[in-house]
């Protein structure tokens, strides 16, 4: 009898684990090798694993990586995956738990399956860089710094900041708002709206009970600042000798013109977002109750109806039309939307061009 043994440099159990790799090329290579091996051996169990790997949606599975101070994400180490319990690193746990809350928020409130509504994996990187004063969305994943310990502290300490970054992913997969001037400020505002709603939903606070602050936890105790931004009162989040007064406007009369450069914050996207931020706050408190219910639904449907070049006026008009479609023409909700935009200097027009 002749025995034909298949020699394989990488054992099948490792290849099977590689199917869960975050790297698409590695997953593809492992899958190709397993398919070839399974075909040669006719092995039912391996074929079953392959079928399962192909069929199972990601459902927003979470992965958190530790950058260990590096700025180069490929150097990071995976520290916690979806099925893992808490780890020793509080930053990794906060990012992981934050992703879980936000994922549930979108699923329960808007029936949205993760960032792309198709179960996109939620990947976070903590401890990025040295004394790094920021958190950002890189187009695929969320990255968090530890802060310099003087002005800023760990950015994973703020659930609304985590939700803000994930919100950029949702905007990218819906309207895709360009990150310049008004569309960019609207992009920023929508992330603040997501951040604020998620925080209020987690705390089960009504619009009247909420603080409407974004990033209240990112400053060290020595810094005299309430937060990065206030949606209730843009322009009042901080006023100190170190970095001056909050420059956010709360009305179109005070719109800040800045150059469309990195030094100009791409036309003031983090500054003029105060105007639509205030409009959402006014709608939420005008309607009353929970911000994530009627106000959130109106904003979410308007986001989905927007385009990459949507301006403040376009968005105001769309929210007005969506409020009418969802809750009735002349409803309290639609009236609250109309009054809110008027109060920030963007009166709605009666012929919206975006909402379908």
């Amino acid at each position: 009898m002749t025995i034909n043994r298949i020699s394989c440099v990488t054992p099948p159990f490792i290849l099977t684990r590689l199917l869960d790799s975050e790297n698409g090329e590695i997953r593809q290579a492992a899958l190709a090798t397993l398919v070839t091996t399974a075909n040669l051996r006719g092995e039912r169990t391996v074929r079953g694993l392959i079928a399962g790997a192909l069929a199972a949606p990601a459902d927003g599975r979470r992965s958190v990586y530790d950058c260990k101070g590096s700025t180069f994400l490929p150097f990071a180490t995976l520290v916690r995956s979806e099925d893992d319990g808490p780890v020793a690193d509080p930053s990794a746990n906060r990012a992981f738990d934050g992703f879980g809350s936000i994922r549930q928020f979108f699923r329960d409130v808007f029936q949205r399956n993760s960032i792309d509504d198709r179960g996109m994996r939620l990947q976070g990187y903590v401890h990025r860089g040295h004394r790094y004063n920021n958190a950002f969305w890189d187009g695929q994943e969320m990255v968090f710094g530890d802060g310099d310990g003087l002005v800023f502290s760990d950015f994973t300490g703020s659930l609304d900041v985590i939700a803000h970054e994930l919100g950029h992913g949702v905007t990218e997969h819906t309207a895709g708002l360009e990150y310049h001037r008004q569309s960019g400020a609207l992009n920023e505002s929508l992330s603040d709206v997501v951040g604020s709603m998620v925080k209020q939903w987690a705390l089960q606070q009504t619009a009247d009970q909420a603080d409407w602050l974004i990033g209240a936890e990112v400053f060290t105790p020595t810094i005299d600042a309430d937060a990065l931004r206030s949606m209730r009162a843009p322009g009042t989040a901080f006023d100190n000798k170190l970095f001056g007064k909050d420059p956010q406007p709360d009305h179109m009369d005070r719109f800040v013109e800045l150059p469309d450069t990195d030094e100009g914050d791409w036309g003031g996207v983090h500054i003029n977002s105060g105007i639509p931020n205030k409009a959402f706050y006014l709608v939420a408190t005008g309607i009353g109750g929970n911000s994530w219910e009627a106000p959130g639904r109106i904003w979410y449907e308007s986001l989905k109806a927007s385009t990459s070049t949507t301006q403040f006026q376009d968005f105001a008009d769309t929210t007005y039309q969506k409020a009418g479609q969802l809750y009735g023409t002349g409803s309290n909700q639609q009236q609250a939307v109309k009054e809110a935009w008027a109060e920030v200097g963007i009166p709605v027009t009666t012929t919206p061009s975006l909402a379908g």
Binding site: T71, G129, R131, D138, G139, H164, L228, F238, D265
Partner: protein, 99 residues
């Protein structure tokens, strides 16, 4: 040699843009640290990476590192999502030595 680091953008852009550039003078560093800095500057100058952030990046920061050395001045610019490993190594070194 005098190295300055200016930072722009990010989640806290309105605050960051009001903070002045931070400056490091190598005259106040030990000789081996100054040599290491020269090596990192040369490597980053050869491959700084992309100057601006990736098209879909949001809240990314950009960095301008200016190196004045005798009569020469070198300016390197990159971003959170565009920097090369060499630029990142230089940035990290500067951040560590700025304290």
């Amino acid at each position: 040699m005098r190295v300055s680091l200016a930072t722009h953008g990010g989640l806290a852009a309105p605050i960051i843009r009001r903070l002045p550039p931070r400056v490091l003078d190598t005259d106040q560093l030990p000789g081996d640290a100054a040599r290491e800095l020269r090596r990192l500057v040369a490597a980053a100058a050869a491959d700084p990476g992309a100057a601006g952030p990736a098209p879909h990046a949001r809240d990314a920061m950009t960095y301008t590192i200016t190196v004045d050395d005798s009569s020469d001045s070198t300016t390197l610019t990159s971003s959170d999502t565009g920097m090369s490993p060499a630029f990142g190594a230089l940035l990290t070194w500067i951040e560590r030595h700025l304290g």
